[in-house]
Symmetry: C2
Subunit: 194 residues, 2 copies
């Protein structure tokens, strides 16, 4: 992994730093999936990755910084579709989200992040940044729909996002019922008043 | 607390058992609010309540049994309203739930229960019992509404419960936006297609 630059200069230090950063992030992400946010301690990250705690804290001043960066590895960001109709766009977004809830790794971690946010203001701030990034594609799709006159005048985009994503989250984490294609279709129709 | 029965017989043992059970349940409930489900260990419950671990395990064979019983102390069960109309009933139910999400103690604990359910089949079973008890009033209100012909033929009660409660949960735990009266009214109207 030692990188030889074009000048022929060898940079073992840089490569070592990169490798240990990467080992720490991989270990942290794996621990988050296995034990949740609360169970992911810097002690255990250090033990498993073989990177000293002092080194870890040199790269990430707080545990929250490290968990945020590692969390980004578990993320499956939503694309913002542009199919030309609000049904098409919402259907495509909801399908992406439903797939992620079925198979991605972050749904196993998220409840522990939300639990930590109940108790820790730093984590709450970190979480609300994640949350905004994730509702943004929905708001964008609804903004375009409103511009095209596809939404009822009385409809409130913030309510529609809460309904669409809230109902999926409800099934994934609260009722643990299957998220079927029929369920998603019914949600989109209900939201659009069809 | 020593109970004197009509026969005049003193039963200090019974009273002591009752007192220590109660101390354990109070301590457990308080710890759950403070630290979440994961942070509520039998070691710490024993330390704080002054009740020996062997005694605790005599009353509750598993930690999940104890957490379930203690969790019942944090519960604010929903009444099933019967106002005569579906708007009235759903409005009353949603108001109760919104109030509980704002002020009850269980919303601070629930994400940690859901997190534990991701990792532990016993907790998942425990949680799904809680969940069914909690969606039951919604299903009952919708069943009556369907009987009175107040719902569209195509409407699916399971979808409506997911929308109504999912959107409230979304605001409480995911987006952390305020749950206003206007928000609740818009949800009920959207659900009923008005």
């Amino acid at each position: 992994m030692v990188k030889v630059e074009r000048s022929g200069r060898v940079e073992p230090l840089d490569a070592r730093v990169r490798r240990s950063r990467s080992a720490v992030l991989d270990t942290t992400a794996a621990l988050m999936v296995e034990r949740g946010f609360g169970g992911t301690t810097v002690d255990e990250i250090s033990r498993r990755s073989g990177v000293a705690k002092t080194t870890i804290y040199r790269h990430w001043p707080t545990r929250a910084d490290l968990l945020r960066d590692a969390g980004a590895r578990l993320d499956t960001p939503l694309d913002t579709p542009d199919t030309g109709t609000v049904e098409g766009d919402l259907g495509a977004l909801m399908k992406q989200l439903a797939n992620a809830l079925r198979s991605a790794q972050w749904p196993a971690v998220l409840p522990s992040v939300i639990d930590a946010a109940e108790r820790d203001a730093d984590i709450a701030t970190l979480y609300s940044t994640l949350q905004r990034g994730f509702s943004a594609p929905f708001l964008e799709v609804l903004r375009r729909a409103a511009k095209r006159g596809e939404l009822a005048k009385s409809s409130d985009p913030a309510v529609l996002v809460a309904v669409l994503t809230g109902a999926l989250f409800y099934r994934r984490w609260f009722s643990r019922e299957p998220i079927t294609e029929a369920f998603v279709t019914k949600l989109v129709n209900l939201t659009l008043g069809r």
